[in-house]
């Protein structure tokens, strides 16, 4: 018997779903229990222990990557901090010009350290996640040009959550370099910030300033946090069990089977997949936020009613917020504010005006963001296409802004009217659904084929002969739950916290709501003995 099998390393893959019973009935109660009985000053260590235990269970020996990330980022950041101290000493008593030279010298050194950090971490991801994709494409090029070389396609085991914890780690070191935060000399605090167990599988991608101190200054568990956290997890379970997993069969049948479906069915499946993805991912985020709340930690929200967005640009500020913010802060801004881009912007401002002038540099940055965004989701051309699709949509939106404004003014169209806003939302939703069709399809070719079907084949199928794995009862229950979620979303959009409002209601009303939600999940949820649960979609990224 190996040490691994003794310690259950990597045996807890089902824990990647926060709605698995092993998580809800074992890991979560154990974690809460251990945390609750640990004396206050040791609570932070119990959280750190639980986080590493969790990662050990889901990733086994691949935990070594988490160690590499944590240790390297910790020491590189301290190195930058020391250079800052040395810079101050070196510059003390010097004249302005000499200070400038010293500053430049140290800046170069610090840049080299950040570069080293980026190379280590992005390199690790490139090798583990993308080497097979790159090698396959190189082989295709060789074949196309008749070069008789075939490279062996490498296969590596990738730890779950690497895309998420690496981005957190990089944001930390870049923020230290920028002087936004100071390097943390406490390895434990940094390790907990990177590894906190609810967030390591699917995010959100937190900043050091958002969660590190909260986690380290661990609080007592309160009844309010316990109850609010449990309610949030329950809400997520409703999304996952009753909507996302129930729609999965239909989505799988249309997207994964060889059978061809007519356009209306493809369109319906694309709508269902968009709903499934939102319910799956935002449901998981509810579980993450709820779990964190039980420990008294406020996680940043990753979704803000994205389907109320009026433009694609706005959609990405409301969908997977932490990823968008990461790309904005660590790719978009550095590109647009680079010296070369600033020059281009100021030159083009003079030639093509204040709106279109900055667009050139902005578009280059936008391209980098969306290329990275596509590739971040997976090593396939369909993901790159997905990124480029949104790049083109946002770019078009930026270009068309003044034209639409003029058009509206000329034809006396009020952009503030409810109908106008409703149409904007409708248009955005349609564009998002088309993007998700490519995102879900098994490869770019399959995506294009499905898209062609959707826009050219309008034949209505014989519904009585269709076997999509879903019946009218499933659709009714999905519609009912979506109506509940829409109602909650409208209240949230108006700034009303539903849990706060509910807590002010009489016990009977509150309990009625909770029993209703629990029974909806138990009776109408997609689960059962021998049922293979659907893996959380974002855990594979």
């Amino acid at each position: 018997m190996t040490l691994e099998s003794l310690l259950l390393a990597g045996k807890g893959k089902s824990l990647t779903s926060f709605f698995s019973l092993s998580y809800l009935l074992v890991v979560l109660p154990f974690s809460v229990g251990l945390y609750a009985i640990t004396p206050k000053k040791w609570k932070k260590y119990s959280l750190l222990f639980l986080s590493y235990l969790f990662f050990w269970l889901i990733s086994g020996s691949l935990i070594v990557y988490l160690f590499i990330t944590t240790l390297s980022i910790h020491y590189l950041a301290i190195w930058i901090d020391r250079l800052n101290g040395q810079q101050k000493l070196a510059a003390a008593g010097l004249g302005k010009d000499e200070r400038k030279i010293v500053k430049q010298e140290f800046l170069t050194k610090k840049r080299m350290i950040v570069f080293l950090g980026v190379v280590i971490h992005i390199g690790m991801i490139l090798v583990l996640k993308y080497s097979a994709f790159f090698t396959t494409n190189i082989n295709t090029i060789f074949k196309t040009f008749g070069i008789g070389i075939t490279l062996q396609i490498p296969k590596y085991l990738m730890p779950i959550g690497i895309s998420f914890f690496t981005m957190q780690a990089l944001s930390y070191i870049i923020d230290v370099y920028r002087g936004v935060i100071k390097a943390d000399d406490n390895l434990g605090r940094l390790a907990l910030f990177i590894s906190f167990f609810p967030q390591i599988v699917e995010g959100p991608i937190c900043r050091y300033s958002q969660t590190a101190d909260q986690l380290w200054n661990a609080k007592q568990i309160t009844y309010k946090n316990l109850s609010y956290g449990a309610q949030r997890i329950l809400y997520g379970a409703l999304k996952k069990y009753v909507v996302a997993d129930r729609l999965n069969l239909l989505v799988k049948n249309v997207f994964d089977q060889k059978q061809e479906y007519s356009g209306p069915i493809v369109a319906f499946a694309a709508i269902c997949y968009t709903i499934q993805l939102y319910m799956d991912f935002s449901g998981s985020m509810d579980a993450v936020t709820g779990t964190a709340q039980i420990f008294g930690i406020t996680m940043p929200e990753n979704f803000a009613r994205p389907f109320f967005s009026k433009t694609i640009s706005e959609f990405w500020q409301r969908w997977h917020i932490s990823l968008g913010a990461w790309f904005r802060d660590y790719i978009f801004y550095p590109v647009t504010t680079s010296k070369r881009m600033k020059k281009i912007t100021s030159a083009s401002r003079k030639k093509i005006g204040n709106h279109y002038g900055p667009l050139l540099a902005g578009s280059v940055a936008l391209f980098c963001v969306w290329f990275s965004n596509g590739l971040w989701h997976g090593s396939a051309w369909s993901y790159i296409f997905f990124g480029m699709y949104h790049f083109v949509l946002i770019l078009t939106g930026n270009m068309m802004g003044p034209i639409v404004k003029k058009f509206n003014a000329k034809f006396h169209i009020n952009p503030q009217s409810a109908i106008y806003k409703g149409l904007q939302i409708f248009r955005t939703v349609i564009l998002v659904i088309i993007g998700e069709l490519f995102f879900r399809a098994k490869g770019l070719k399959a995506g294009l084929k499905l898209f062609k079907k959707m826009v050219t084949d309008f034949s209505l199928p014989d519904l009585s002969k269709l076997e999509l794995g879903i019946d009218k009862y499933d659709l009714i229950i999905v519609a009912v739950v979506l109506a509940i979620i829409l109602f909650v979303s409208i209240l949230n959009e108006k700034g009303i916290c539903v849990r706060d409002s509910l807590s002010k209601k009489p016990t009977a009303v509150r309990w009625l709501v909770f029993y209703g939600l629990i029974l909806l999940i138990i009776v109408c949820g997609a689960y059962g003995f021998g049922y293979k649960p659907v893996d959380p979609i974002y855990a594979k990224f």
Binding site: L21, Y223, W511, I518, L519, V523, Y527, G528, F529
Partner: protein, 328 residues
């Protein structure tokens, strides 16, 4: 501390009310017959519940290897022994135990023969919890029935009617052949494939339950090139020795059974087809005769329905096969 108890009491009352609601819902969701139309899962296997009280000599439990490989009607026709295939596709051991519990309420078989393929089927933690929850509160098992509830389902005190019976006694006929590659089949090995501790625990529960009901448990592995190997044989043999259970591994003497892998399987060695099942069933019939613990019920009028089932079984064979393939 006062507020702690207040909150704990609140959680307790909340849970208690939830339990009562789920209990009532369980009464509603539980199928009111063993008929598929009334929501019963695995109708063929659950057909065993409609067999008249204490009329079964042998009970076969296990996964698809059982319903593909063992024909109770032939055991009746040639030996006068009554048996039933309580088998379901991908059967988990927890489910095997449930079948045993449900069946032994009204039956007292002398032998329970358990196919061993399921011994190596992993049972996830989630599945084992859902299974146990379903045993206590059937709403967890039959929750999907919300789509097809009838008015009488709301009568939670209604007796469950066991009115569905399968004339093939759980056996599923497949006549086609799809040859298997048996070049690596049962290569000798001393290695042992471990049975998971969770599965071992279920097998021990099954053994204990059989002992309590004065029923002998026998392990059986029907021929399969795809599912079986010597490592698994060794693993089951070890457990059989530990529990004092007889283990018949047909894979170790498939040649003696004259299994022809080019003709006797319908899915490249995974399962027996009708021809393979005939050989397996013939062997079992001879084995039961050798045991000498069964008396033929052929002349007992109480078992006349078995002759009717036999007639229907052979009519079914006649629709699919040449007479030379099924006539004596």
């Amino acid at each position: 501390m006062k507020s702690f108890f207040k909150h704990a009491l609140r959680i307790l009352i909340f849970s208690l009310i939830l339990f009562i609601i789920l209990f009532v819902l369980s009464g509603i969701m539980t199928p009111k017959s063993n008929n598929k139309d009334d929501g019963m899962y695995d109708e063929l296997a659950n057909g065993v519940l409609s067999e008249p009280e204490n009329t079964l000599d042998v009970l076969f439990i296990g996964d698809s290897e059982v319903y593909s490989g063992i024909m109770p009607i032939k055991l009746w026709k040639y030996h006068g022994i009554t048996s039933y295939d309580c088998s379901t596709s991908g059967q988990q051991l927890a489910y095997s135990l449930e079948f045993l519990h449900n069946t032994l309420i009204s039956q007292s078989p002398k032998l329970v023969i358990m196919e061993t393929n399921a011994f190596y089927r992993k049972l996830s933690f989630d599945d084992s919890i859902i299974y146990k929850a379903g045993m206590i509160l059937p709403v967890f098992k039959y929750h999907d029935r919300w789509k097809h509830l009838h008015l009488n389902d709301f009568n939670i005190n209604a007796e469950i009617e066991y009115n569905y019976n399968d004339t093939n006694k759980g056996y599923k006929f497949v006549g086609k052949a799809n040859p298997a590659d048996d070049s690596k089949y049962m290569t000798a090995s001393k290695n042992v494939k471990e049975i998971t501790s969770r599965n071992k625990s279920y097998i021990k529960d099954i053994k204990k339950f059989c002992d309590q009901n004065d029923t002998e448990l026998v392990f059986l592995s029907t021929p399969s090139t795809k599912n079986w190997n010597y490592e698994k044989h060794n693993g089951v043999q070890e457990l059989a020795d530990e529990l004092g259970v007889k283990f018949i591994d047909m894979n170790t003497f498939a040649d003696d059974l004259e299994i022809d892998w080019s003709k006797d399987t319908y899915d490249q060695g995974d399962h027996m087809n009708y021809y393979g099942a005939t050989k397996v069933t013939n062997y079992l019939g001879d084995y039961f005769e050798e045991l000498g613990i069964f008396t033929s019920h052929k002349d007992d009028k109480k078992y006349s329905s078995w002759d009717e089932s036999t007639k229907k079984f052979y009519e079914m064979l006649a629709r699919h096969l040449d007479p030379k393939d099924y006539e004596d």
